[in-house]
């Protein structure tokens, strides 16, 4: 195992929707998803993509207004008699007001749809911008700026859901000493296939922040447990994961088989928690788990005072 380095990662922004992370440079027609606030090439401040889209929509509406006005102007110009002139002017004004009212009332609904269209239209540019970011990551790796590389990859990872990105992130993360205050991620890193490095990372994460182990991690472990068992201390690793699953009753419910199988590798303090849980809910279909736990406690911790009287 390589020596891990201690490091402090940049904080990542928290957003409700991913698109909020996209910034646009209106001058260069490029997009940015990292933490910079000004365009690297032109120095112009980035604008959130939603604002850009709204500006486009607003202008389209203005263009419609002008078109209508142009028609009315032409109508007035082509008027031959006073009556026609008055009609053209009057009807023109009415149409104008109608348009205005309509826009005020329904214009808001157009913005979101237009935004979606805007995204579709700008997809190529967006992808190009992401690719450029990936190239930057590659350069950083070459120059040894692994921290930067990780941070950038993490941001890109918000948009692209692929094993390559995940595996790279894991690779980068495995270089560092993990701490609880690091905003560690786990769920977002699960590859679609078995990955040894990921399991190494899981091992480290569980030590620091077992709360990150969620359903998807458990499912992954259960699915690839045979491969994991081939690892060094693989059984203990699974035991740790199973221990982490004891945080919530629903997890225990779902992953009973895993817990029963690796009950021997549960740490003492986790087994204690399990015993308490089993005791509380033993009549809710947990009979098998109860027996296994009882058996394990009886065989190994029969004299431990903490366990006394639980089961």
């Amino acid at each position: 195992m390589r020596k891990r380095i201690g490091v402090q990662f940049r904080k990542t922004r928290k957003t409700t929707h991913t698109y909020e992370r996209i910034q646009a440079c209106t001058r260069c027609h490029t997009y940015h998803v990292l933490w910079e606030t000004h365009c690297e090439t032109c120095g112009r401040a980035y604008t959130p993509i939603r604002q850009v889209s709204h500006a486009v929509t607003r202008r389209n509406v203005q263009t419609r207004f002008l078109l209508l006005g142009l028609f009315v102007c032409l109508a007035v110009l082509s008027a031959k008699t006073l009556l026609q002139l008055a009609l053209a002017g009057g009807i023109g004004c009415v149409l104008f007001i109608l348009f205005f009212v309509m826009q005020k009332k329904y214009g808001i609904y157009e913005r979101d749809v237009q935004f979606q269209h805007f995204l579709t239209r700008e997809m190529e540019t967006l992808k190009k911008s992401l690719l450029r970011h990936l190239e930057e990551v590659g350069n950083d790796v070459k120059e040894g700026h692994l921290k930067e590389a990780y941070e950038k990859t993490r941001e890109i990872g918000h948009f692209i859901d692929s094993d390559t990105i995940k595996i790279r992130k894991i690779m980068f993360l495995n270089h560092y000493v993990l701490r609880k205050d690091m905003e560690l991620e786990l769920e977002t890193l699960i590859p679609s296939m078995y990955d040894k490095d990921f399991m190494e990372y899981v091992r480290e994460v569980i030590k620091v922040q077992p709360s990150l182990v969620k359903k998807s991690v458990l499912t992954y472990v259960r699915r690839y447990k045979n491969q994991i068992l081939l690892l060094e201390n693989g059984d203990q690793l699974i035991g740790q994961v199973a221990g982490a699953a004891l945080r919530m009753k629903s997890y225990v419910d779902e992953y009973q088989d895993l817990i029963i199988e690796f009950i021997d590798f549960l740490p003492r303090e986790r087994l204690l928690r399990l015993a308490k849980m089993v005791q509380t809910h033993k009549n809710e279909g947990w009979e098998q788990l109860y027996h296994s736990t009882k058996n394990r406690v009886d065989t190994h911790y029969a004299f431990d005072p903490d366990f006394k009287g639980i089961l």
């Binding site: 698109y19 209508l68 026609q84 309509m102 979101d112 692209i160 859901d161 390559t164």
Partner: protein, 49 residues
């Protein structure tokens, strides 16, 4: 004659616009849907990078 024709054209423009806005209102897109759409677009082909 041309005047009335042009006024009619303006009115038509207004009507088309109104119908379009009405349709958009019916659709009433949420932000989550937009986000989903974005993800779908980003990951539809390019799985490699």
């Amino acid at each position: 004659m041309l005047t009335y024709f042009l006024l009619f054209a303006a009115f038509l423009l207004l009507a088309v616009r109104f119908l379009k806005l009405l349709r958009l209102k019916r659709r009433n897109l949420s932000n989550a849907e937009i986000d989903q759409h974005l993800h779908a677009l980003l990951n539809e082909k390019r799985d490699s990078p």
